[in-house]
Amino acid sequence: MRTYENIMIVHPDKVGDEYNAIVEKFKGVLSDLNANLLKVDEWGARKLVYPVKKQGRGSYVLTVFEGEPTIIDEFERRLRLDESIIKFQTVQLEKGFVEDDSAAAAEEGQGAEEEE
């Protein structure tokens, strides 16, 4: 099991129920793939720094999940098929998932000291 972080940009025309349906759909896709959802963070509509698929805005959705490396291909294939996702990026988190930044920093510091 590895920890991954995915950001997808939802088409700005999808608002309200349509938007929620898309977010729920991909949460469903992840659980179908036996991924363990750790966090879903909706940043809301933001201005894109450069136009993507002729859109100047988009809704960012950040998801953090644990899963086998093999599920990433399938998950990204599904993202690619959905026209309402204008861009996405999946990144592997080497250090695993850390919820609170300050607490995480303290834990990491302790861990390093113990090893030495």
């Binding site: 988009g58 861009k87 930044d101």
Partner: protein, 91 residues
Amino acid sequence: MAERSTSGAPAKRSVRRRFSRRKGCRFCADSTLKIDYKEVRNLRYFVTERGKIVPRRISGNCAEHQRKIREAIKRARNIALLPFTAGHSLD
């Protein structure tokens, strides 16, 4: 012989260091600073107005942290949080 060498060097040096530059890597000095591609506000400092990555000789980063900054900037660019270049037209 000894008198000759002392005259020029200090003046030349002051010209070269016209603007002050902080020495050393800020991430090594303060371990609480985190490099994250999602926090664009912190990365802005390492990107020029045209969107180029600021070189290490200017930013003062050590090799390790410059590498992390570089990775973070490239990730942020890929997901439209930072520009590849100035002059992306939005219409």
